[in-house]
């Protein structure tokens, strides 16, 4: 344990307390978050449920270990789900006691609220800070790969840039899983943030025969229908709607599609190539004869995979380094033990 660790643990506990306070007062910023994210008010409320407000000491120790040491850290939040600033600040505080943050220009509410709740001005919000003026330490950037690359290119020599890019999730449902329970859990993972998170599943692999895949797709459709009533999907912009319409047409050709008011589920046959659906509560289901075949068919997507949800996480823990493995229904709630995205960018 580093000599810094007790201080860092204290900082992290303090940040979690700030998060709890923000959560308590979430109605103050909920409307602003809804406007910025396009989520429905119910979607914002559901998303707030994923804001980390607690962690075990063991998790925080892992987080500190993953963060390393830095003289100072400048955090750039560009494209992320609205609760992501908490973990971003936690990683920065785990690495350094000197932290500045540039909030997402589109969605600054939670960052500002967390910094305000933190209170003593030691985390500075620096919305206009130019990357080229960061004179040492680290930059933690959360955004598209192109944003990460642009920050790397603009950073001064000697400044370490840690990039957290865009990604996606996938779910693998074993033969032994109960179809309805699995569908219900996956649907919750999809509903949260309207699938705009890098942990959100976009592809579901069912172990078994095509009939099992079809049953799972139908159950997902029913579950997403129910979630749509409780937590309506937010606004999709024009491009997203166009992508969704095109995807549904493609699925109608290449397989089968179940179309709901706020979602769509597609099914392709055994062995068919995977076409990743657009965000906005769209899922592609396919079947493979074994878990191993299921994992193999994700190989072309492996560089984008941040999280795999499954009913049998123990099966994967050792085999998929760099990818978070979570229980179905828990994909959006990873422990606060390091970056959400474990890929090295």
């Amino acid at each position: 344990m580093s000599v810094q660790t007790p201080d860092r643990m204290a900082s992290l506990r303090r940040l979690l307390a700030a998060a709890a306070k923000v959560y308590q007062d979430r109605s103050r910023i909920a409307l602003e978050v809804a406007r910025a994210t396009g989520l429905s008010p119910e979607g914002v409320e559901a998303g707030f449920g994923c804001l980390e407000r607690d962690a075990t000491d063991a998790e925080l120790r892992l987080l500190i270990e993953s963060a390393g040491e830095a003289e100072r850290v400048h955090v750039i939040l560009a494209a992320n789900v609205f609760v992501a600033p908490l973990r971003a600040l936690a990683l920065a505080l785990a690495a350094s006691s000197s932290v500045t943050v540039r909030p997402s220009s589109r969605d600054p509410a939670l960052t500002r609220a967390l910094v305000a709740a933190w209170g003593d001005g030691t985390i500075l919000v620096a919305p206009d800070r130019d990357v080229a003026t960061v004179g040492g330490g680290e930059i933690h950037v959360y955004g598209r790969d192109s944003t990460v690359a642009a920050v790397r290119a603009a950073a001064r020599p000697g400044v370490v840039v840690r990039g957290h890019g865009a990604g996606m999730g996938a779910a693998i449902v074993s033969q032994r899983a109960d179809i309805d329970a699995a569908a219900s859990a996956i649907a919750e993972d999809v509903m949260l943030f309207d699938q705009r998170g890098c942990l959100s599943p976009r592809v579901v692999i069912a172990e078994g025969n095509p009939a099992r895949g079809e049953a799972l797709a139908a159950a997902l459709h029913a579950s997403l229908e129910r979630w749509g009533e409780r937590v309506p999907r937010g606004v999709l912009d024009e491009s997203e709607r166009a992508e969704a319409a095109g995807w549904v047409q493609t699925l109608a050709f290449a397989g089968k599609a179940w179309i709901g008011r706020d979602h769509a589920v597609g099914l392709v046959t055994l062995g068919a190539p995977l076409g990743v659906p657009p965000v906005g509560r769209h899922l592609l289901v396919t079947t493979r004869k074994s878990i191993e075949e299921g994992w193999a068919c994700l190989a072309p997507l492996s560089r984008f995979l941040v999280c795999v949800g499954t009913d049998m996480p123990g099966h994967f823990e050792a085999t998929v380094p760099g990818v978070r493995v979570a229980l179905l229904g828990r994909m959006q709630r990873p422990p606060l033990d390091g970056p959400v995205d474990r890929r090295s960018l």
């Binding site: 994210t37 396009g38 865009a166 491009s239 992508e243 047409q249 290449a254």
Partner: protein, 371 residues
């Protein structure tokens, strides 16, 4: 009638349209008449198309106009088989550019005669209608043998054979192993007889590379020469605005600006659109015309209903030469119907990121060649 004979008959009807166009004769039948029969044939023999029709609630028996037929999204060519014959009958398979995530789109052909007839007839009209003799054809692209699954390489080879002076491949194709043979091209241009025009066929990215390689040098083509450019940049070179590239190309080859014409084609199609600046004094660059057996209909991306002339929609393209695949396709290109033709406005832009979920356009960023 069995599928093979039906296909043969439909191919012949498509070719008859092309022949009528070549001879300036009236079309032997209406666009809709052939479209409706293609729709029924494809519904019966392309499994996915039957599913798409069912999902859209369309009964091909009730269709009387082309626009009533569901269009097949181009992505379907990546994810499913879009052909009306057994795989073993495929004579040629064209594939779309590579993307970072496989698979590539596949357009398989059992019979290329309609493709070749359509490409040649309209290509000749738009690029070589005033060229009476065989002329030198220089391709800033690979030999067909080097790119056997490229529809563009096939089309260029077709043009080289039809319009060209039967030169060797070395003196015709100037991209080998992905590298532009700039010195060979320079020598070839300087060797050209000044009494005959030449035709240069090139992708935009190859032209950009050539311009960079030759700096400000002028590789003057003989009088009356023309340049066909096609394809976007697709990450292969720095992007250059279309007008700037056209001006630079015209200057580099010493040709009139109106003699630099753009062609637009897709792996998923059998016919192409062309700018008409070489053949129509009123035509403007950036406006593409269709042959009579092809229609581009801008449609609203969600409802897929046609938009009014002058409004931007995504491209629903009906191509009667697509006999054995999908005569109506839906591309994610934005288009607008204007006086004189169709404006191509580029891909539908990806959504503004509102999260860290990977966007489809990022995932499918193509590293490869044109179509």
């Amino acid at each position: 009638m069995d599928a093979h004979r039906q296909s043969e008959e439909l191919h012949e009807r498509a070719r008859a349209m092309v022949r009528a166009f070549e001879h300036g004769a009236p079309m032997p039948e209406t666009f809709d008449a052939l479209a409706v029969d293609l729709d029924r044939f494809q519904h019966a023999h392309v499994e996915g198309y039957a599913r798409l029709c069912a999902a859209r609630g369309v009964d091909p028996r009730s269709i009387v106009r082309a626009e009533q037929a569901p269009a097949v999204p181009t992505d379907a060519f990546r994810l499913a088989r879009v052909f009306a014959f057994d795989e073993v009958e495929a004579r040629v398979v064209f594939r779309t550019s590579g993307t970072t995530v496989p698979p590539r789109g596949v357009h398989a052909f059992r019979d290329l005669r309609a493709y070749d007839a359509a490409a040649l007839a309209f290509g000749r009209r738009m690029l070589a209608c005033d060229v009476e003799d065989r002329v030198p054809v220089l391709v800033l692209g690979p030999d067909e043998k080097e790119a056997i699954d490229s529809s563009l390489a096939h089309m260029c080879a077709l043009f080289a054979r039809a319009f060209g002076a039967l030169e060797s491949a070395d003196r015709t194709f100037f991209l080998r192993g992905g590298a532009l043979r700039v010195d060979d091209f320079r020598r070839r241009v300087s060797d050209l007889a000044r009494t005959k025009p030449a035709i240069v066929l090139a992708t935009s990215f190859a032209l950009v590379h050539l311009l960079e390689a030759i700096g400000g040098e002028v590789l003057a083509l003989p009088e009356g020469s023309r340049v066909m450019q096609t394809g976007g940049f697709k990450g292969r070179s720095r992007e250059v605005a279309a007008d700037d590239l056209r001006r630079a190309v015209a200057a580099a080859f010493g040709v009139d600006l109106r003699s630099v014409v753009s062609e637009y084609g897709m792996t998923e199609l059998s016919s192409q659109l062309w700018e008409a600046t070489l053949v129509d004094p009123r035509a403007a660059h950036g406006v593409y015309v269709e042959p009579p057996w092809m229609r581009v209909v801008p449609v609203e991306p969600e409802t897929l209903a046609p938009v009014a002339d002058g409004e931007v929609g995504v491209a629903r393209i009906e191509d009667l030469a697509n006999v054995d695949s999908a005569f109506a396709i839906l591309a994610l290109d934005r288009v607008r119907r204007v006086a004189g033709g169709i404006e191509l406005l580029g891909r539908v832009p990806g959504a503004t990121p509102r999260g860290c979920s990977i966007a489809l356009d990022e995932m499918l960023a193509p590293p490869g060649l044109g179509r």
